[in-house]
């Protein structure tokens, strides 16, 4: 494999990574932030595989398997953290968590995060509900 092909594969990995970084820094939804972090991991995996092909041994691909495994665990942890945060503020908006600042500083986000502290109307109101299927659960559904 020649250097040009390596270069183009590395560029693809870099583009994926950059997209992940940009998404991580600019997204407002907590889950989408996590998604962007996963995208970063994918870009790194592409990088690793390209190098493995370049050097002619399977080390790159083996390491990619590791990365995927770790990514799965990390996704589980992140989702549980996001769930906890959601339970607190009843919203997935990251701006709601922006109140650790000096009182006299101007508000930097576009629409004021302070006002975003008041929760909107019941967020579950507009979400679609699945029809119940199978057996009824043994314990009644929890009221959120």
């Amino acid at each position: 494999m020649n250097a040009t092909a390596l270069e183009s594969q590395l560029i693809i990995g870099a583009i994926l990574f950059a997209l992940g970084v940009i998404g991580f820094l600019t997204r407002r939804n907590l889950i989408l932030i996590m998604l962007s972090a996963e995208l970063m991991l994918h870009g790194v995996s592409v990088n690793l595989t390209a190098f493995g092909k370049y050097h002619g041994n399977p080390q790159g691909q083996v390491f990619t398997i590791f990365v995927l495994t770790i990514a799965a665990c990390e996704a589980g942890l992140a989702l549980s953290l996001i769930l906890t945060l959601y339970q607190r503020r009843k919203s997935l908006d990251v701006f709601l968590w922006g109140n650790l600042s000096e009182d006299d500083l101007p508000i930097l986000s576009g629409d004021s995060p302070r006002s975003a502290m008041q929760p909107m109307t019941d967020p579950n109101a507009n979400f679609p509900h699945l029809t119940p299927a199978g057996r009824a659960p043994l314990s009644p559904p929890r009221k959120t």
Binding site: F24, V94, G98, N99, S101, E102, L105, L108, P113
Partner: protein
């Protein structure tokens, strides 16, 4: 007498007893038995007095010489010394807390402790019921401790420490009723004016150390070799030293131009005036000059200066006392005037070396008798004030001799002694001073100068008799008039106050007779080490006659003006116009000082305060402002924006990566 009790052992007892009394009151007596605070103090003073009397009998081996002996016995006896504590031992300066007693100190201590004891007994009656009763006695005890240590000090530095300490106690006692603004101002004035004198004293002490290398009295005055060597090396340095030390005496003993604090000091309680401003503190200056006689005999210019200042002071104070209405003010100016007398006598030694010892002796003798008769005058005035409900303006009461018989008798005794009535104590001492001045004006160099001084002394003694008896007649003769504050019937002095009055009156009458013509005092004092040889001294009959005539003329004039035909006094006052005003205001010296010195200083102080507030405070505030600027720059980093933190993390990561890669690139 007591062979097992050497004088060294009791030497420290004299100052320490009042100190212990003061500490007792300060620590315990403010809380426990407040109205009994006089007991430890009176006990301590009695102990001090007993120890001082014992010292008197034992410090001079020859005891009291008889009148027949002449020159041989006036040999220097060694002084008694006790070193308590090695205080400073740095380089060339070696100062220890040494108590040194000789004949001069012993006489001075007897005077101080006896008057203090009697004044303390008087004050226990006078100050009864005052809310600050324990504080008064603690201050008095501290004062007597400081005064005794001043007299007993064995070197100049220790003396200076207690010189300042008596000034401090004077401040505490003058401003005793400190809620009264006039009393607080008077205390401040006394302290500040004293401080000016202390500055001169300190410069003199510095010069002594630079010249001689030692400050110890025993080394300086014990043998004349040190002073002689310095004189041969540089004759003018001794004159400078003497003048500087005398500046200290000017401040402490209220001489012109620093006499302005003493009349205002009458704001303090009357026992304070009697003790401090008549008998003890103001005599510290006289003691200093007398103690430094071995210096002064080498500096006739300084002695002439001393005599001149003394004469000027005596004259100014006598003129001012002629027109005062406040009884205590009259006595205050009289004190200033009599202190001028003492300095005139001390300065008369400039006429010749053979006159030195007599000059010093009679100055100290006048100080001794003055302590007693001035104290009795002040205490009688206090008794009058006590009966008249704290009114002391003579225009508001008169004719008190029937109502206050005890006070009348004692005041009369003191007044006669002060005026120099024949055969009383004041007569003997004043006459001896006039005799010394007469001898100085006849023989020796500078005879003309001393003739002027003698003239001033005679004029002042005439005025003294006049104003003293003017005060006496205005207070005790005439029709009976009481001020409204006196209540229905003024009561005479209670026993606590009457006892000391009688004792002091007896002393005022008799001390001169006992100690003067018999030369007991003179022969005792001559045995002080450091004083030159003394020759025989015959009483000067001419001066005796002149002073008697002057005293009687003054008394008669006062009687005529204030008892026979009071109208003449009013006519004189109207007729003299501005002269009367000038005399009443103390020759406008206070006004002058206010314009020339106090107001400019106050302006400078205000200017400095303005500078401090507007410039220095602003600079400090600016310096304090700068960290705020830094904070304002750095604070927006914490804006709470979560993704902001993510950006910062990313930046840190990038920087780390770049540095690692550069390190790798460098290695390869």
């Amino acid at each position: 007498m007591f062979d097992w009790l050497k004088p060294n052992d009791v030497l420290w007892l004299i100052p320490v007893a009042p100190l212990l009394a003061c500490l007792w009151i300060v620590l315990v007596g403010q809380i426990v038995r407040r109205q009994q605070a006089h007991r430890p103090v009176i006990l301590a003073f009695a102990v001090s007095f007993a120890a001082a009397v014992y010292l008197l009998t034992s410090v001079v081996p020859g005891g009291f010489g008889t009148a027949g002996e002449h020159g041989e016995h006036a040999r220097a006896s060694s002084a008694i010394m006790t070193t308590i504590y090695q205080w400073i031992h740095v380089g060339g300066l070696d100062v220890a807390v040494t108590l040194r007693a000789d004949a001069m100190s012993a006489l001075m201590l007897v005077m101080v402790t006896s008057v203090s004891l009697l004044v303390a007994i008087f004050a226990s009656g006078y100050m009864k019921g005052d809310p600050g009763y324990p504080r008064f006695f603690a201050s008095i005890a501290l004062f007597v401790f400081s005064m005794c240590m001043l007299v007993l000090a064995g070197n100049f530095l220790l003396m200076f420490v207690f010189w300042e300490a008596v000034g401090l106690c004077s401040y505490l006692l003058i401003g005793f009723w400190f809620q009264k603004p006039s009393a607080a101002a008077a205390a401040k004035k006394a302290f500040v004016v004293n401080r000016i004198g202390d500055f001169g004293f300190l410069l003199g002490v510095f010069l002594i150390w630079t010249t001689f290398g030692t400050l110890d009295f025993e080394q300086l005055f014990g043998s004349p070799t040190l002073i002689q060597a310095a004189f041969l090396q540089d004759p003018t340095v001794l004159t400078t030293i003497c003048l500087l030390l005398f500046v200290g005496a000017i401040g402490k003993s209220a001489q012109f131009p620093l006499h302005v604090w003493l009349p205002d000091a009458m704001e303090g309680p009357t026992p304070v005036s009697a003790l401090i401003h008549a008998a003890t503190m103001v005599t510290a200056g006289v003691y200093l000059v007398a103690r430094c006689t071995p210096f002064f005999v080498y500096a006739p210019t300084a002695q002439m200066f001393v005599a001149g200042i003394g004469a000027a002071t005596a004259l100014i104070a006598a003129i001012t006392a002629l027109t005062q209405y406040d009884l205590k003010r009259v006595l205050a100016y009289s004190t200033v005037s009599q202190l001028g007398y003492m300095f005139m006598s001390l300065g008369a030694a400039g006429a010749g070396l053979d006159l030195a010892t007599h000059a010093v002796t009679f100055a100290m003798f006048h100080m001794f008798t003055h302590a007693f008769f001035k104290a009795v005058l002040f205490l009688s005035a206090g008794s009058v004030m006590h009966s008249m409900g704290d009114v002391i303006d003579m225009r508001r009461f008169s004719g008190l001799r029937k109502v206050l018989p005890i006070t009348h008798i004692t005041f009369l005794a003191g007044a006669l002694a002060l005026a120099g009535f024949p055969l009383l104590s004041g007569f003997w001492s004043k006459d001896e001073i006039l005799a010394v001045l007469f001898t100085a004006s006849q023989t020796g160099e500078h005879a003309d100068f001393y003739r002027i001084i003698l003239g001033v002394a005679l004029l002042t003694s005439l005025m003294t008799a006049f104003y003293t008896f003017r005060a006496y007649f205005m207070t005790f003769w005439g029709e009976e008039r009481f001020p409204a504050e006196a209540g229905d019937h003024p009561h005479d002095a209670p026993p606590a106050m009457a006892g000391p009055l009688f004792i002091l009156a007896a002393a005022a009458l008799g001390v001169g007779l006992i100690a003067g013509p018999t030369h007991l005092y003179g022969h005792y004092l001559e045995q002080t080490p450091g004083l030159p040889e003394a020759h025989a001294h015959a009483p000067n009959v001419l001066m005796m006659g002149i002073s008697t005539v002057l005293a009687l003329v003054g008394i008669a004039a006062a009687y005529g003006l204030y008892v026979r035909s009071p109208g003449i006094a009013q006519a004189l006052k109207r007729g003299s116009g501005p002269l009367h005003h000038l005399s009443h205001e103390g020759l406008q010296l206070d006004w002058l000082y206010l314009r020339l010195i106090v107001t400019p200083l106050r302006l400078i102080a205000q200017l400095a305060e303005r500078f401090d507030r507007c410039i220095i405070d602003v600079i400090v505030d600016c310096v304090g402002f700068v960290p705020g600027l830094f904070g304002a720059v750095l604070r927006p980093i914490h804006n709470g924006f979560v993704q902001n933190y993510a950006v910062v993390m990313l930046l840190g990561l990038v920087l780390g990566l770049v540095s690692v890669l550069r390190a790798f690139a460098g290695q390869m």
